[in-house]
């Protein structure tokens, strides 16, 4: 087809402005969390003279690499509160952002394979109900009814002994979520500046007053860091440390298939999580590679392991093929909970440590972080997730508790 026969380019969803010399606030990181933060800064706090700086292209990091699972069935009160707030926002955002990003509340099942799993799952269902999070316990027969392709027989090494189920959980099209936020940000006057890498910060004493970038220095009164796996690199430039470790996290998709998988199935014990994307790919992921890494790739045995787990649970997948695998860089903390709040540097704020499960939190991370940046103090939802908890010992340990395969 020659070029003159091609249709017109569709409207661009956001401008590509040159950076101005000064902004009221700068958000570093143009992924889901950075864009959501800018959106709520503009919408809830009237801060429209702000910029989002992205070193690559918009939403090309973990926002493009996650497995799009959204749920709120965390054990502890602090976690349930912020993730459930996120889920409630997901339920209204398509309308608010005027963008159908295919949020599909098809439910999420967390399988139990051992007696320990069963006890912990039932405990979590109870905790969820007390926190107003929809949750139920399913026996193996009910599991099979909801997801007929699951193997619930006892001829596998770790038979399915039941599952927790959150009906309001589901998946969404991650790229479209980013584009929806970006378009609204742009409409409200936020500058989204791509290919703009932060190389340092300008400080007056202990107060940040500017951001150095490969496109010049930008003066600003407030800086919000939302750079996930690269948060430590930015913190080091600013002169403080973060208790996070960056690891590769891999995922994969199969070729397209007829719809066979009606929900989202996660297994912490054999370690795989699987859904079927709207187009038909089987999307799966598992745990991080053990070593620290910034390479956006990991080791193949991790992929092999998650596929073995998937084929054992879903025998029908044995004939599917891996189409693509990829990796993102996730910022893990030792209590598997995020860090959102103030930093040792005045007027600099950080949103990081979401580890392997940041996508689902996008709207609430943005809302609370925007509140923290605009007012200088945390929203009640992110207050427990302050950096100080590592000194006070008030950790929010979601490691074994929250069906933690994200």
């Amino acid at each position: 087809m020659s070029a003159d026969l091609l249709p017109e380019h569709p409207d661009f969803l956001w401008r590509n402005p040159e950076p101005k010399s000064s902004y009221d606030a700068v958000v570093v990181g143009g992924g889901g969390h950075g864009l959501a933060t800018a959106y709520f800064l503009a919408k809830n706090h009237g801060m429209t003279n702000i910029a989002v700086l992205e070193k690559g292209w918009l939403a090309g990091g973990n926002m493009a690499r996650n497995t799009t699972i959204i749920r709120s069935n965390y054990l502890w009160d602090e976690s349930a509160a912020i993730y459930e707030h996120a889920l409630k926002l997901w339920e209204i955002l398509p309308e608010e952002l005027e963008y159908d990003f295919l949020f599909s509340q098809r439910g999420v099942m967390n399988l139990a394979h051992t007696l320990g799993d069963v006890r912990e799952s039932m405990r979590r269902v109870g905790a969820n109900k007390l926190n107003g999070v929809d949750a139920e316990w399913l026996d193996p027969k009910q599991v099979k009814e909801l997801c007929p392709i699951l193997n619930i027989s006892d001829n596998i090494r770790y038979p399915v002994m039941g599952a927790t189920y959150q009906p309001r959980a589901g998946i969404a099209k991650h790229d479209h979520v980013a584009w929806a936020f970006a378009r609204k940000c742009d409409e409200m006057g936020v500058d989204i500046i791509q290919n703009c890498e932060v190389t340092g910060f300008v400080k007056d004493g202990n107060r940040v007053v500017g951001v150095k970038t490969n496109r010049g220095t930008i003066n600003t009164e407030k800086v919000g860091l939302a750079a996930a796996g690269h948060s430590s690199v930015l913190a080091e430039m600013a002169g403080f440390r973060l208790p996070i470790q960056s690891h590769p996290l891999q995922a994969l998709v199969s070729e397209l298939h007829e719809p066979v998988h009606p929900t989202v199935v996660m297994s912490n014990h054999v370690h795989v999580y699987v859904s079927q994307a709207h187009k038909g790919e089987l999307v799966m992921g598992a745990g991080v590679d053990s070593y620290n890494g910034y390479g956006q790739r990991g080791s193949f045995h991790v992929i092999e392991h998650q596929m073995a787990a998937a084929v054992e649970l879903f025998p029908i997948f044995a004939r599917a093929h891996v189409l693509r695998t990829w990796g993102g860089i996730v910022d893990t903390t030792l209590d598997a909970s995020p860090i959102v709040g103030n930093t040792p540097v005045e007027n600099m704020f950080v949103n990081c440590g979401w580890g392997t499960g940041g996508f689902k939190a996008t709207p609430a991370a943005g809302m609370t972080f925007a509140h923290n940046i605009a007012t200088g103090s945390p929203h009640r939802l992110n207050q427990p997730f302050a950096l100080e908890r590592f000194e006070t010992g008030a950790l929010i340990d979601e490691h074994g508790a929250a069906a933690v395969a994200h």
């Binding site: 690269h230 430590s232 690199v233 440390r241 973060l242 208790p243 996070i244 470790q245 960056s246 590769p248 891999q250 053990s290 070593y291 620290n292 890494g293 910034y294 390479g295 956006q296 790739r297 990991g298 080791s299 193949f300 045995h301 992929i303 693509r324 695998t325 990829w326 990796g327 903390t333 030792l334 590592f390 000194e391 006070t392 010992g393």
Partner: protein, 139 residues
């Protein structure tokens, strides 16, 4: 998958090893005197270097011995393998104590030296050239 050269057993697949995180973090000399901040640094704060990183590995299904490795966290290239307790064998080895509370006394076999001075060191690390073989995943 990384191809790791165990100092005792030779080159083996990464699946035989267990990762131990940052190397050269010494147990505090006077734990009773630490502030909460210093304890937090020791317990929860580790370097998260982008680039050459000194880290511990355990050959868990082989000789079951710990050793240190210098590895680039971006390219995953293994630059050196060296015994626990020896100073970090590159120029970056002059990085100061990470916890601010780490021992600067002589090495013990388990903790390594928190502030090694590489000049005049007698340790000769096993140099490895390009031993990583990442497979599968695309950037």
């Amino acid at each position: 998958m990384l191809l790791i050269s165990c100092p005792n057993c030779g080159s083996r697949d990464e699946t035989e090893f267990h990762y131990g995180g940052q190397a050269h973090v010494a147990y505090p000399e006077n734990p009773n005197e630490l502030t909460d901040r210093e304890w937090a640094e020791y317990l929860f704060y580790r370097d998260n270097t982008k680039g050459a990183f000194a880290e511990r590995w355990l050959h868990s299904t082989g000789c079951r011995q710990w050793f240190n490795m210098l590895r680039d966290t971006v390219t995953y290239e293994i630059q050196a393998v060296y015994p626990m307790g020896s100073p970090r064998p590159d120029a970056a080895g002059k990085v100061t104590a990470d916890t601010g509370t780490a021992s600067t006394a002589a090495d013990s076999t388990t903790t390594g030296n928190a502030s090694p001075d590489i000049s005049g060191t007698s340790t000769s690390p096993t140099s490895i050239s390009s031993t990583t073989a990442p497979e599968g995943a695309t950037p």
